[in-house]
Every structure is written in C-alpha cells, then in structure tokens.
C-alpha cells in the first residue's frame, strides 16, 4: 500500500465535494438542524432501569414503609431492582457500582426510616424522613424516571391524601450534576450525524464510481483495491470529523453543553464510527445498481440506529425483545463512548471497550470492502 496513492484517492473525493457547494451546505446544515430540532423535542418511556436498594429500616417488615415502597416499585417496570441489601456495609459497594456505570442508582432507606415518617407526620412540622439516592446523572431522562417512580411508590405506600409526603428524596449525582437533556443527546446526535453522512456519501459516491465506469479506470492504474478503500475511508472519515466538530461547537455555543472529558477521545470515537460506516456504505454499494437503489438502503440502516442505539431514548427504554439488536449496532457503542467522555469525564480506561468494538467494526468493514472490490474482477 502506497500512501501517495491513498492520498490521491482521498483528495479526489474531497475535491469533488469542494465543487459541490450544495452538498457541503447540506453536510453542515443537516447536523445543525438535527441538534436544534431534537434540542427542543424529546420523549420516550424508560423501562427496566437497573438499581440497587439498601434497606436498613429496623421496623418489622410487615409494618415497614420502606418494604411497602420497595414492593410497590416492583409492581411497575420502570425500575429493575437487581439487588436489595439490608446491611449498611453494602452502601459503599453499591455506590461504586453506580460510579462504574453498572447500575443507574442506589436507593438507601436508613435504620429509622418508618419511625421518621411517623414522627414527621404526627408532629406536623418535624423534619421529614429522607431517602438517599446515589445516581448516575449521565442520562437526565433516566434520572427523571427514577425520581418520578420513587415518588409514585412513596405516595401509594403512604395511601391516599398523602400528597404532602413527609418524605424527602435526597439525590446525589455522581456524574452529570447539571446535566440536561441536551447534554445527554448532543453526543448521540453527533454520532448519528457522522454515521448518516459517512454512510450516505460513501454509498452514493461509490455507486456512481461504478456506474460511471471511473472505477474501471482506477483499477487499470497501479492503485490497489486496498488503497482505494483506504482513500475513501480517509476522506469520508474526515468529513465525519468536520461534521461532529460543527455539532460540538454548536452544542457548546448554542446550548452550553458540557464536555467533562478529553474532546480528542470524542474525535477518535467519531472517526472510527465514520470509517466503519463509510465501509458499510462501500460494501452495500456493490448490491445497489444505481444511486436510486443506494438511497433505499438509507432508512434500512438509519431507523434501527435511531430507535435502538440509545441516541434519543436510553437503551433501557428499548423493548427487551429488541435489546440484543441494539448491541449489534455500532452507533450504540459510539454514543455510549461519547457520553462517557463528555458527561462522565471518563478517559481511555473507561471507554476502551467501546473503542475496541468500533475499531473492530471499522477494520472488518475495510477488509470486507477490499475483498468485495477484488472479487469484482
């Protein structure tokens, strides 16, 4: 493989873009439009959020309010109570689980919880009893869902007319202390835009390369199949990067989005995602006979990614049956990686797995594309 030929192919693709101002405009405006639209509209039902409960309440179980609240929580599917501990020694371990992002929250009822509620209710102006909660604030949607569900459970456990519940929920966020929806989905939109654009550019350019017979011409020069694939990956990976920079800048300037970690790691994640998806476009271009057919692949790739990769709705809101599909979508890992860096402030050690998956995806796509091109002869 010769670098100068890879660069020649990459330059060719970027130059084509340079002459096509409308496409360049689209490439910049589309992500801006996306982040703006999604910045103001957001929805989704959260389900099966993993939590631990540490119930230290000393009141016998049949009279314990804590037990009643836990039982009530179990009747709904918003929270998935993985474990219920009864020893205070488990508080620290449970908090660690939240920090490692293995679970979303730990809910702690203290030793005198039921008594506190009773005395607060009878005295009328006493200190309310409190439920302590340690939460991962990366995803405001999930924070909201946990809080709402806990409030609902408390209200039903106390019975009707207890709207002014003498119980306060004291949340402690380990990540994303001031995170808003926009902080949560800016990384998602970034990944989605990079994915869409690299896939689209690659599939359409390459279908055109075949239908206009320029590919024949390229292949009659010393350039190898691998060099063509690498040149494409370089050009469109860079386009993906430029796009995500536009989104990061817009998100920071317009919506004051926080970036807790190293922005270069975000760039790396997006680049790998871009390279992988352009490879996918390259690969699928061999099935499409013309640009029109190529466009038809777009919804096929986009819809599962939008719905199942956690861009807008957390994976916890994906129906259990479809959840395995989520783990086959590269965007899932890119979004998780970007979020961990931008909100949790994690470094390489925290997102190595996501990087590994994306690198494997990109490598596999590049190898398959090269092989597909060789088989063509």
């Amino acid at each position: 493989m010769r670098l100068e030929r890879v660069l020649a192919i990459a330059k060719k693709n970027l130059r084509s873009l340079k002459h096509d101002r409308r496409t360049v405009g689209f490439l910049v405006l589309m992500p801006l439009l996306m982040i703006t639209i999604f910045g103001y509209t957001f929805g989704g039902n959260v389900k099966n959020v993993d939590v631990y409960i540490v119930n230290l309440d000393q009141t016998p179980a049949n009279q314990s309010l804590a037990t009643a609240i836990i039982t009530n929580l179990q009747t709904r599917d918003t929270l998935h109570i993985v474990k219920v501990y009864t020893s205070s020694s488990m508080i620290a371990a449970s908090t660690e689980k939240v920090k490692d992002a293995d679970i979303w929250a730990t809910i702690v009822f203290n030793e005198t919880f039921t008594q506190d509620v009773i005395s607060a209710a009878s005295s009328g102006n006493g200190q309310p009893a409190s439920v302590r909660m340690t939460m991962d604030g990366t995803n405001p949607n999930i924070v909201q869902a946990i809080s709402n569900d806990l409030q609902t459970a408390i209200r039903s456990a106390l019975g009707a007319g207890a709207s002014a519940a003498p119980i306060s929920v004291v949340p402690d966020l380990v990540y994303g202390k001031d995170a808003r929806f926009i902080d949560f989905f800016a990384p998602g939109v970034m990944g989605l835009a990079a994915m869409m654009v690299t896939f689209m550019l690659s599939i359409i350019s390459f279908v055109h390369e075949r239908s206009a017979f320029t590919l024949d011409r390229l292949l009659s020069t010393p350039v190898t199949e691998g060099e063509i694939v690498a040149g494409y990956a370089l050009a469109f990976g860079l386009v993906g990067l430029v796009q995500s920079s536009v989104i990061i800048t817009a998100a920071v300037l317009l919506f004051d989005v926080q970036i807790a970690g190293n922005v270069l790691l975000v760039v790396l994640v997006i680049f790998l995602l871009g390279v992988g998806n352009q490879g996918l476009g390259f690969l699928l271009s061999s099935i499409a006979k013309n640009e029109f057919q190529a466009i038809q692949f777009l919804p096929l790739i986009l819809f599962p990614s939008i719905l199942l990769s956690g861009v807008f709705w957390p994976l916890e809101s994906v129906p259990t049956l479809l959840r395995p599909v989520s783990y086959f979508i590269p965007l899932t890992y890119a979004v998780e990686g970007c979020r961990s860096v931008m909100i949790r402030g994690w470094g390489l050690g925290g997102i190595w797995f996501q990087l590994l998956v994306l690198a494997a995806f990109a490598t596999a796509m590049l190898i398959l594309s090269t092989y597909g091109l060789k088989r063509r002869r």
Binding site: K12, F213, T214, D216, R217, L218, L219, S220, T221, P222
Partner: protein, 254 residues
Amino acid sequence: MSEEGRAIRHLEGEKDAIHVNKLRKEFDEIVAVDDLDLRIPRGILYGMIGPNGSGKTTAIKMLVGLLKATAGKAYVLGEKVPIQENVARIGYMPQEMAIYTDLTIHENLELFAELFSIDKDVFAKREEELLTVIDLMDRRDSLVSQLSGGMKHRASLACALIHDPEVVFLDEPTVGVDPELRVGFWKYFADLKARGKTVILTTHYMDEAVKCDTVGMMRLGKLIGEGTPRSLMDRTSTSDLESAFLALARRAVA
C-alpha cells in the same frame, strides 16, 4: 511445457505488445470471447472492428485486467495477464466517458498522474503537452460536467495518456465525436505510433479503420479476419472494409 518452451513463449511475448492464446470469456450462458488468438507487434496502430456485442470490449477489459478470463492465456508486454508489474506501461480509455465530472480537467489529470506516481514537474510538462494536443488548454480549470460531449471525450483521452504509456487501449475513442474532431484524433493516434507507442483501438466505424496498420475483424467473440486493410479487401475482392467484413462474416457462417 518444457523449460525451453517456456523461454520461447516468454521471448515471443516480449517481442509482441500483445500475445493472446485461446482467450475465452463466458458470462453465464453467453460466450463473449470465444477462444481468441491474437498477436499484436509493438509500434503499430491496431484496429479491432466488429458490430456491438462482438467481444471487442470484453477482450480489452481482460487485457487490462478488469475482467478475469474463463480460459486461455494473454500476455501484455510479455507479462501474463492480469498484469501487475507493467500496469504503468499501459494506458486505458474505457468506452464510457469514465472521468470525474465533478472535478476539473486539471484535477482529473492530476489524480491519474498521482496514481501513476508521476513527478510533479514531469506532470506539469505532460499536462501542457496533452492539453495543447487536445485543444483544451483554456478549459484546464473547468469542471468536466460543464464541458461539451466532445471536450469530455478529449479530456478522457488525455487521462489515458498522462503517464505516457507504451501500449494504449482505446475502447471506441471516436464514438459520438464530431467529424472534425475525429480527424484530429486519428492524427494524434498516428503521432503516438510515430513515437513508438502501440495503439490498440476498437471501433465500429469501418470507414475509419482503414487508417489502422492492422485490422482484426471480430464477430461473435471470434476473430474472423486479420491483416492490413488492403489485404482484407483484396482477399474478399471488395473495395471497402465494410463489404470485406460482410464477406468474411458470410464465410464464417458457411
């Protein structure tokens, strides 16, 4: 084959620009090239003529390495096809325009120059020379999509020649080219030959094939006649190549 036989074959290959032995290409049920034997010496203008579907383009695509032969052997400049080493010594202009319409002429030429690892100074000289010949110097920085059909054709030819190849395959280089420009093209092909290049072109315009040194007539994937235009007409007692082709085609059927 004995060692000696291999050596002879290799020597013969070196002497000829093209040496094709029982080359065959099948697409499913269709035989596009049917056990073709061909030998093209260096430094001549060779015209492959025949109607659409006679296998000319398929044969050329196999020679430049774009299609795998079903059977048979072919050598280009002594190297067995698909060639690896001699790629930079051949030039190929596909039948279709096959240049990047969203790039300028200069950018197209520069791309191919870079793929052939041509020095920047050498490229600048070659570009100027070629653009002068094809009379597109003033359109150097125009987007190809903004050029007329004839201009695109000329630009496509320039892309095939930017690396100064020894053997040039031109597939239907004059299709859709106006008569005046066609004359210019043929003059340039003769000029290439005069500089020692081997030019192999396909055409279905029989009238212009008389300008070739040797003409190979193809029909249904087979070579039904080969020789100088004069000898082909003499052999068939005809006065033009079209009649000669028809006569040979009748003989082939009989």
